[in-house]
């Protein structure tokens, strides 16, 4: 069986790639993708910890366990989908007004 550390390393790597993408890419769509990567890295963590750490209790009706980790991961999917929808809508709007999708160029909200 694959140990927990492996999952965590994958998730951390994925998170770092996501962070790098968010911070380094100029294209706003790519930044949005980086955010997705980070969210998924979190999902991996959530699921991995659930799988390895949540105890399985024996009850009268058989084995029972908490489904909190999976529920959390599913919740994150929903949030990510909503976030992408809003984010892409913003990028579209931005493109219509400014003819650009480069995040650097959109800096009018400053001092």
């Amino acid at each position: 069986m694959v140990p927990l550390l492996a999952y965590l390393l994958v998730a951390a790597a994925l998170f770092c790639i996501g962070v790098y993408t968010v911070l380094a890419r100029r294209n706003a769509v790519a930044i949005l993708m980086g955010v997705e990567l980070m969210l998924n890295a979190v999902n991996i963590n959530l699921v991995a910890f659930w799988r390895f750490l949540t105890p399985i209790n024996e009850t009268a009706s058989g084995l029972k366990t908490s489904m909190a980790g999976q529920a959390f991961a599913a919740f994150v999917f929903v949030v990510a989908a909503a976030e992408v929808a809003v984010g892409l809508a913003l990028i579209l709007s931005m493109y219509r007004n400014r003819q650009t999708v480069v995040a650097e160029d959109v800096d009018s909200l400053k001092y």
Partner: protein, 811 residues
């Protein structure tokens, strides 16, 4: 209350003019007519009350003698209670005293005042400050009446000082003229010298006796004896207390009645309007000084025996000063050319007669001469006012006549009509008011008061001339007819009577006789120069006056009536004092007037022991006759026989030059240079002290120096505070917002608008917090060092961003 009660009426006598003064000053000063009505009503009311009092008073044969208090005498009301208790209550009183002396004054003063008020209506008709004039005049009349009815020295002194003030105000009435206000100041300051000494005397008297009531001092033999026997304060000059007080009071009189050496103010006082000269500086105010010494005679004589020829120090002083002044100013009067100056010196001289007479104990004679002199001198002054008026008109008429030279003389009267309306003010007055532009064309040197410019005026103004001559004859002492003769005769009678007992009286007799000769001489000279001969200038030729001479002109009643009334008294006032022993005239007059006693006996009752009745003596009558005949005869020869010619020296000038040296006449003309002497030795040193010592050294040097030092210190401290304020307070106050602004300026670059930069900051912050939490969890003992390192890193960071390139990016 019975308002005609003799105890009430004298109290009220001074009130109406004082009320009139207030009414004029506060209410009626816009209306001339109302002012005239108020002023005349005030003084007329006083006059009527005085007449009532006089008529009552002469009914009482006990007035002033045994039954004192029968008639309204000496009612006193405590005024300033003070707790001292020497003799009486020690309080200062307000009170009245009516005795024979008051009675005769009450006969003369209100009547003269009333006549002069009436005259002033005409005389001042065109003056722009007419109402002010009547206000002052009313105040003056009230003060004089207060002085006359006063029953104590304090009230008398109050009236005395108010009159001094009025005198000042009225002499300087035409204050546009520098000479007028200078004369006013001179009069005020000169009389002040006497007044201060007098007040010291009053203070000493009060300190000694505890009262200032006449009755308590003058009719209290015990007090008089004590005053006469106690040595004066500190044995001053070996005088008794009475002597010292007496001399102080005489000093007041010398100031007020213009005796040598304080006589200098009176001639200058002629700068005032002529009615003022008549009223204040001839008839009433200067008489107040004589009245005071007559009133205080028992005190002045205390310690001596006048009847035996023992004169006390104050009496001797009065005799000497009066006799000297009488002769001295008479000599000046003969060399004066200004019509009013002659009368001014004549007034001084006549007041000298009274003072000298009193000095040798001629109590009744002095009072008698006081009364008669007031009448004829008021008459002479009013007459001279009319003459001056006429000369001003004549001056204008002469100019107008030149303008219409080709026309007949009828044109002249037309021209004078127009000139008349414009010119009614006295000589050279009111440059400011002289809007009719005559000043430029008329010769500036013309002096309407200069007798050399007159001559022949009796044809132009017969009423004035006649009354003036009556007054002049009364002054000169025309025998048997005029009042002046009888009163002077009384003085000579007393002097002759005393001359056997006291050498002082001989001096007085000689001086007064010489003065009387000169009096007749200068009076004749004045009459001759003014009214007789031929006109010496065109002004005199055209001179006219509202006394009925010019056809088609109305007689100005207010200008002529007072002259006629005064002329009446200038003749008949003397008959009440004729010695019944005088041959022929005496018995007739005693019968006609049906008097219980002539003037002398009546006034004599004012004293505790009335002076003895002098039997008729032919010697003084001879003296009177001789001096008149010599003086008037000389005047006739010098001035009537050869009327003076304009530009040639005066007739007396040659004579005097012949006997006393060529410069003697000039000395007389310049009044013995006494004014110059005073200027050199009193006025200039006083001015030097004022300007050099007080102004420059004390005021500017010391006081200003102290003030300026204080100011400099204050300014220095203020500067110090200002620096502190600027550096510390402003530094802090401005520095804090500046520092905040600086910090804000550098911090705002953080907000660049780049979303990825924000995320980077967030990541760094996240890692930082994570790192710290890790340290805290894993190596908690290193957290302190970690914190120090982090703070150091922040400081380095801030330092680099502030002084590196961060500032420039904030532009």
């Amino acid at each position: 209350m019975n308002w005609l009660d003799a105890n009430v009426l004298p109290w009220l006598i001074p009130i109406p003019p004082l009320i009139a003064f207030m009414l004029i000053a506060l209410a009626t000063n816009r209306s001339r007519t109302l002012t005239h009505i108020v002023a005349i009503a005030g003084v007329a009311l006083s006059w009527l009350m005085s007449i009532a009092v006089v008529l009552n008073a002469i009914q009482y044969k006990d007035l002033g003698t045994a039954a004192r208090g029968v008639f309204g005498t000496n009612t006193q009301v405590a005024w300033l209670a003070n707790g001292a208790n020497n003799l009486a209550s020690g309080a200062l009183n307000m009170g009245i005293l009516v005795d024979p002396l008051t009675t005769v004054m009450l006969f003369m003063v209100p009547l003269t005042c009333l006549l002069i008020f009436i005259y002033s209506i005409g005389y001042m008709a065109h003056d722009p400050r007419n109402t002010r004039f009547f206000g002052f005049l009313s105040l003056f009349a009230g003060a004089m009446l207060m002085l006359v009815v006063a029953g104590n020295l304090l009230l008398l002194f109050i009236g005395w000082e108010i009159m001094g003030l009025c005198s000042y105000l009225l002499i300087g009435f035409w204050y546009e003229k520098p000479s007028a206000y200078q004369a006013a100041i001179k009069a005020f300051l000169t009389t002040r010298v006497g007044d201060v000494i007098m007040m010291i005397g009053l203070a000493y008297l009060w300190a000694f006796t505890g009262t200032l009531n006449f009755r308590d001092i003058l009719y209290n033999e015990e007090i008089l004896h004590r005053l006469a026997t106690t040595p004066a304060l500190g044995g001053f000059l070996g005088l008794s207390a009475a002597g010292l007080i007496g001399i102080c009071i005489v000093a007041g009189t010398i100031g007020k009645s213009a005796q040598f050496p304080l006589h200098v103010w009176l001639p200058d006082a002629m700068e005032g309007p002529t009615p003022v000269s008549a009223m204040i500086h001839a008839a009433t105010m200067v008489s107040a000084g004589v009245y005071l010494v007559i009133r205080m005679f028992p005190l002045l004589a205390a310690g001596g025996n006048v009847e035996a020829g023992q004169l006390t120090a104050p009496l001797t002083l009065m005799a000497v000063v009066g006799a000297f002044t009488a002769l001295f100013s008479a000599t000046i009067a003969i060399a004066q050319n200004d019509i009013k100056k002659v009368l001014a010196y004549s007034t001084i001289s006549q007041l000298g007669f009274m003072i000298a007479a009193l000095g040798i104990g001629a109590y009744a004679a002095a009072a008698f001469h006081l009364i008669t002199h007031a009448f004829f001198k008021a008459l002479l002054f009013l007459g001279s006012g009319s003459v001056i008026h006429a000369m001003e008109h004549g001056e204008h008429a002469a100019h107008a006549a030149h303008g219409a030279e080709h026309h007949a003389a009828t044109q002249v009267s037309v021209a004078t009509q127009t000139g008349h309306e414009e010119q009614h003010v006295e000589k050279g007055v009111h440059a400011a008011h002289d809007e009719h532009g005559h000043a430029a064309e008329s010769a500036p040197a013309f002096d309407p008061q200069d007798m050399r410019n007159m001559g022949g005026l009796w044809r132009r103004m017969p009423v004035t001339a006649a009354t003036f001559i009556i007054g002049g004859m009364s002054l000169a002492g025309l025998p048997l007819v005029t009042a002046g003769f009888w009163s002077k005769d009384e003085i000579f009678a007393d002097a002759v009577n005393m001359s056997g007992k006291s050498p002082v009286a001989i001096v007085v007799l000689v001086f007064l006789a010489l003065a009387a000769i000169l009096t007749a001489l200068y009076t004749m000279r004045q009459i001759a120069m003014t009214f007789f001969g031929s006109p010496r200038t065109e002004a005199a030729m055209y001179a006219e006056h509202n006394d009925g001479t010019t056809a088609g002109r109305n007689i100005s009643v207010e200008l002529t009536a007072p002259l006629i009334v005064l002329a009446f008294f200038a003749i008949f006032a003397g008959f009440v004092g004729v010695n019944p022993g005088f041959p022929i005239v005496g018995p007739i007059l005693s019968g006609v007037f049906n008097l219980r006693a002539p003037f002398g006996a009546f006034v004599g009752r004012t004293l505790l022991e009335p002076p003895p009745h002098l039997e008729f003596n032919i010697l003084p009558v001879l003296v009177s006759l001789t001096v008149f005949l010599v003086g008037a005869g000389a005047g006739w020869l010098l001035y009537f026989q050869k009327p003076i010619v304009l530009g040639e020296p005066d007739a007396a000038e040659g004579l005097i030059g012949q006997y006393f040296g060529p410069s003697a006449y000039r000395v007389l003309q310049n009044k013995y240079y006494i004014d110059e002497f005073y200027v050199a030795y009193f006025v200039n040193p006083a001015r030097w002290v004022a300007e050099r010592l007080v102004n420059q050294i004390i005021d500017r040097g010391i006081i200003d120096g102290i003030l300026h030092s204080i100011a400099a210190i204050a300014i220095w401290i203020g500067n110090l505070f200002r620096e502190f304020n600027r550096v510390v307070i402003d530094g802090v106050g401005d520095g804090i917002p500046e520092a905040i602004a600086d910090a804000a300026r550098s911090l705002r670059t953080v907000q660049s608008g780049h979303i990825q930069q924000y995320l980077l900051y967030a990541l760094i912050a996240f890692l930082w917090v994570g790192a710290n939490l890790t340290i805290l969890a894993v190596l908690p003992q290193w957290i302190g060092w970690a914190f120090v390192v982090q703070v150091g890193l922040v400081i380095v960071f801030v330092f680099l961003t502030n002084f590196g390139g961060a500032r420039t990016s904030s532009e």
